[in-house]
């Protein structure tokens, strides 16, 4: 699945998007756990997990929402536009 990162999460991961094998992760939270185990960059990007926002196929979702069948998961900090 395609995973997107924005703002300081993008900077910490070092990529705006990447193709990720979810390795059987059923929720966004499980996906985050697998990523953090994989590389220090992810551990740094997700260190403030309480403030991380998730969108599954461009719909806002909860960290514990299912990601089964999703094509795109986006992770980002709270928005600061306007």
């Amino acid at each position: 699945m395609q995973v997107l990162y924005f703002a300081w999460m993008r900077e910490r991961v070092g990529a705006a998007s990447e193709e990720i094998d979810p390795e059987g992760a059923k929720t966004a939270r499980e996906l985050v756990e697998r990523l953090c185990a994989r590389d220090e960059r992810y551990a740094l990007a997700f260190s403030e997990l309480a403030s991380v926002r998730v969108a599954v196929d461009q719909e806002m979702a909860d960290l514990d929402a299912s990601i089964a069948g999703a094509r795109e998961i986006a992770f980002f900090p709270p928005v600061t536009g306007g």
Partner: protein, 160 residues
């Protein structure tokens, strides 16, 4: 130009500056039942809580941002008797004094135009996928979301 229940709504996400007067004229043109147009213009401030900045970078989510702005505009037209909505949000690198965002609402009545413009700004601040990074002599710093913006957006959720 999208159409929300027959009401002209138009959203743009662009790096370029915009002309407020021209946008207002365009929104009001051709509809002589509009009695009130409210505009909100957001500008880059030089002084922030962390000192003076030299530039601001606005990141957004291409492909998603325009959809979010259209949703917000549609929600406003469903809540208030509006005759037009216009949203322009810039992205890219901006300098102090530069315009960031423009929200226009047109209505027969001033109360509807004012309320809808406030609603749109509150929702833009909390729901549109933009992230600001401030640049100063000390380097770059991502702007934190403000809890008072969430509180401002929340005040609309009890209504209607």
């Amino acid at each position: 130009m999208a159409d929300a229940g027959g009401i002209p709504t138009h959203v743009s996400v662009q790096p370029d500056d915009f002309d407020i007067g021209e946008e207002i004229e365009r929104l009001a043109r051709g509809n002589r039942d509009i009695g009130a147009v409210v505009s909100f213009t957001g500008l880059v401030r030089e002084m922030t809580t962390d000192g003076e900045i030299s530039a601001m970078e606005l990141e957004h989510w291409p492909g998603m941002t325009e959809k979010a702005l259209s949703d917000i505009a549609r929600e406003a037209t469903a809540r208030w008797p509006l005759d037009g909505v216009r949203i322009i949000h810039r992205h890219g690198k901006l300098e102090p004094g530069d315009k960031i965002v423009l929200v226009l609402t047109a209505s027969r009545h001033r109360a509807a135009a004012f309320e809808a413009a406030e609603f749109l700004m509150d929702y833009l601040k909390t729901r549109a996928p933009f992230w600001k990074k401030e640049h100063s002599a000390r380097g770059g710093r991502w702007v934190d979301a403000r809890e008072c913006d969430d509180a401002a957006a929340d005040r609309w959720s009890g209504q209607d």
